[in-house]
Symmetry: C2
Subunit: 340 residues, 2 copies
Amino acid sequence: MKDQPVTIKDIAREVGMSVSSISRALSDHPHISEETKLKVKAAAEKLGYRYNALAAALRSSRSKIIGLIVPRVSMPFQSAVITSIQNRLHTYGYNLMVCQSNESPELEKKLVDLLLATQVEGLIVSSTLYTKDYSVFERPSMRGIPVVFYDRVPKDKACHKIVGDEFNGGYQVTKHLLEQGCKHIAHISGPLSCSIYQHRFNGYKEALNEYDVPYNEDLVFFHELNKENTFISCDKLFAGKIVPDAIFACNDTAALAVIEYGEGNNISIPSDLKVAGYSNDNRVEISRPKITSVEQFPHLMGDGAAKLIMDLIQSTENNKSYISLTTSIELIKRESSSRV
Amino acid sequence: MKDQPVTIKDIAREVGMSVSSISRALSDHPHISEETKLKVKAAAEKLGYRYNALAAALRSSRSKIIGLIVPRVSMPFQSAVITSIQNRLHTYGYNLMVCQSNESPELEKKLVDLLLATQVEGLIVSSTLYTKDYSVFERPSMRGIPVVFYDRVPKDKACHKIVGDEFNGGYQVTKHLLEQGCKHIAHISGPLSCSIYQHRFNGYKEALNEYDVPYNEDLVFFHELNKENTFISCDKLFAGKIVPDAIFACNDTAALAVIEYGEGNNISIPSDLKVAGYSNDNRVEISRPKITSVEQFPHLMGDGAAKLIMDLIQSTENNKSYISLTTSIELIKRESSSRV
DNA sequence: TTTCTATCTGCAATCGTTTGCATATACATA
DNA sequence: TATGTATATGCAAACGATTGCAGATAGAAA
């Protein structure tokens, strides 16, 4: 056995046929007889042949690779989505190349170039909190390579995308809090540059409007939703003229921070203050009180994103129209927002 | 502008030079004058040239792709590790292709083939709970492609690996519980086919031994560490002759299940029963009581795995010896195991 | 002028497949 | 015999870069 990898050329020599026939035999081309196929495959096995997907990709210009750009893998929602994207793509015989933007729009741009250089056949993207300029995804160099956005998608631009029903989520949470008798519902949100927060915010305002509760901008905050920022906002809220009787936090980390803030400041939840989060991550059921939150069904979203990109790749016609899918959400009511 | 992608050939035509010079100019080869490089790069920009990494990979047989095989992306520990692996590899100019075995040894094997076909330059692997046969990683067809295991590694086989100090973790937890005065420490573990559980179990027995507490096999359980299984084990434990005064669960999901079991069965924690988990995931601090657990520093492990694979790829000499790295752990004591 | 470096550039093979087209064979049909 | 139709196989040109080697050019030294 040589140290050089075995190629179809070696198989051709072994069985005394041309490389083209070997190639066809191995890929079950109908023009090759069953008998020959068996012979070729046996020889391949015997020689320890290994298919070179790169060479095939170069020649056929189908790399069977999908690129994924995501802010960070280690966010519970994202990792759940990625899990199902990867599993689904695998059933199509496609591989996934994962890149992280680390919430940096500049890096995100570079990653697009990187993945295009790798000849990905499609791109799945959930953008950074701050991405405003999406032009990189429609440069001429993108020609022919479909892009599917999910979750965090362009705000003002048509594109293929799959998103949760964020407006409805924001609306449902707010409506629920209103129905629990709350009058002063604070909203702790992520930056509005990010589509999901914009839509939840719109839903929030819609519900207020519907219930004739005036919108008060002293009760809304926009910042990255970590514990520190949330504490700062809580401080402001409880130092303000109007003390809130509910807080709608736009993720569960922030909601948990509110709970902790309450514990530390003698604010009892839900009697003094009702709280709701978003994403229904696995901490909200552990918390005491358990936290009302919105389930986003990340697996459906991942599955949908993978199916959508594959459809776009496989459809021959030049799709001029954009496909937009919405996955439903479900408000899960728990103790943190219950009537006392 | 044509619909065909622009290649270095087009640049060569544009600037009136040969493709080899273009190639060298673009990759900053020292034999090309600065002046020429600038001219070439300007032309590339102008034509909208995009580097084809696949073609380069084929010719140079350096794909700049690392394959990752992991049970599931959506486990908190795993996704934290993956995050740092990907970020670190990116600094080396390498990409990461992520595959999930879904805890199936058969699928795991197929993924090795798949990734080898993709011409990965290295493989990073955390195996399934049940992988016993690691021969697939040392077949002749693997020749030259380094493999780094992390976390869940082969038990009885030398290999490159980076693992947490599991024995010490198991030992520390058990010792801590003993020092809190516990005499009957149950151990709820994953299957021993998996290296990490074997080592934690060994650490558990070592501590018992050191404190002259007899090992009692009625107090140990081996199964997948989900809530249902843990409940079943708890039922058995509390129906047995010897009622435990502590439970050392091998992950936090199981520890949380024990807490929940306690709530539902009038077992008060930590006064009646002390509890410890493993991995220090973000739920243990939310739980009431907060749960004693073991921090594994997944980011160090990911970083280490990425560095190690790159070292192996870049080292020219044929490494005969295996490198084994151990990341330290830290026992975080919390209410669930405190003296009353 | 000649010769020698040093510096730059080009030729052409190569990486391992895929694939359009041509060809070969066998068998049936006219 | 000539023709047609499947069926099976081979030829050779791609795909787009890299790279060993040879060659060209220019300036300096002899």
